[in-house]
Symmetry: C2
Subunit: 283 residues, 2 copies
């Protein structure tokens, strides 16, 4: 089934727009886990066990696993398999992008070798670089649009033919979305951009990092985040959930943090007139 249709159906079941970000930084793991043979995996499995009922989806940041070498790369695959078994959609946050010939191999790596349902990709190399991903109709292809970091403005905000570069990206990705399998990364720290981006790309689902530790506000995300067809924004929170406690209760604390974010989103939605109508948060 189409990735974003799966996401929408799951939002209807869970009333959650929370994407749990598994940026599992080994240096931040609770002390009692550090003796484990594979602490990253042990931690990840516990987090998934504790949060999966509250997760719209998971997003695994490839960097944190690649940094641990072969063992980390194996852990990445194992955690994806664990999440898939629970039938929760899983995004590999890998920000890949290369020329067509190599992109075909990255698509195989992300979707087949690692088993992800969706992947984040960079727009810089243009359409033929994304084609091998777009050809996989059942998979999600989420293109970097506006990122949440300070350096995002270095290029993304440059005025290109009268509009910022990120708008050029949004327009092109919307045009490439003929199979309904594209999404756009829009950082919550750029709340002022949501209305405009939703207007120029009404059918493009948004993956929204930057709430929580990075300080983005929920209101504009809730108001403009859903597509015209009611695909909700995938609101990612990583550190605020994963490291809610550094004690032995880390998994319960993570569950509580995920629940709190889900409920904050529902509350924000209840009092915010939504720009694109959507019912997934209502009982």
């Amino acid at each position: 089934m189409n990735f974003f249709r799966r996401v929408k159906e799951r939002a209807e079941q869970t009333h959650s727009w929370v994407c749990v970000g598994l940026d599992i930084d080994k240096a931040k793991l609770p002390a009692h886990l550090r003796g484990e043979k594979n602490a990253q995996k042990a931690f990840g499995l516990e987090i998934v066990r504790a949060t999966h009922e509250l997760a719209l989806c998971y997003k695994l940041n490839s960097a944190f696993f690649e940094a641990e070498g072969l063992v980390g790369y194996a852990t990445l695959r194992e955690l994806i398999a664990e999440i898939a078994q629970r039938r929760v959609p899983v995004i590999l946050d890998a920000k890949r992008g290369d020329i067509g010939n190599s992109s075909r191999q990255y698509a195989r790596a992300c979707f087949d070798a690692l088993g992800a349902d969706a992947v984040t990709v960079s727009p810089y190399l243009g359409r033929d670089a994304l084609e091998p991903f777009l050809d996989r109709e059942d998979k999600g292809v989420i293109v970097l649009g506006v990122t949440s970091n300070p350096g995002g403005k270095d290029f993304q905000s440059l005025e290109c033919r009268g509009v910022p570069l990120y708008e050029q990206v949004a327009l092109k990705v919307a045009a490439w979305n003929s199979r309904g399998n594209c999404g756009l990364v829009v950082g919550a720290t750029k709340g002022e951009l949501f209305q405009r981006l939703r207007r120029i790309a009404p059918e493009l689902p948004f993956l929204v990092p930057g709430v929580g530790a990075q300080g983005g506000a929920l209101d504009p995300v809730v108001r403009w985040g859903a597509t015209a067809a009611g695909i909700p924004p995938l609101i990612n929170s990583s550190r605020a959930i994963l490291f809610a406690s550094d004690g032995e209760d880390f998994a319960e604390a993570a569950r509580a943090a995920a629940q709190e974010l889900r409920d904050s989103i529902r509350q924000a939605a209840a009092k915010t007139p939504r720009g694109a109508f959507d019912e997934t948060l209502e009982d």
Copy 2:
């Protein structure tokens, strides 16, 4: 030692500007190797053994190894180690790029876990995304500028504040090059851009894919490729070397193809007035 200084010294020893691209596509391996337990590794080791005296450096395309899952990821590390043992500089062509927090992990993955001397990165997330790479003074950080694929024009050629986006990228990367560890990817298929890019970024080394199978011409690369300080362009050839023969003589054929490219470059250099002076190709 600084990566590009190493490259320059090696060019003086080998009279070669050839970067051998290890895009080891399993589907293209010689038939007699397909029965091997790890054909990708067996092929790569033979290629390195046959070509290392002619290689200015190697570039391993991460995509082709990631596509083979864990085994491929292990092969990537093993081939890098093999090349490092022969003291040839090695670039991991991974086109990574993420926000600072995650980029730090990618820098660990590429330089420490995999052991590369340099890495290709995407500019889209801006300066703070590159900082953890730039902080490694001895390592090379080669930023995508103008790529060799047709879709490159989708965004790279957009006019941004009066110049194409790739010029904005070249200018910023030149400004970030205070430690002398930055380079720029400039596709050989865009030969008409070399003079201008060399003028706006006289000290920025170029990694040049796209000669050979992709059809880029050597002349502008030879003329404008070297920096003002004499760091030669890293002229990559992958398929034309790796798959010069699909028979049992593949390694000798690869060596012959690498030698032919090295000699073509020297001949082109001999008859081309060079824009930035350089002596590495002279006996």
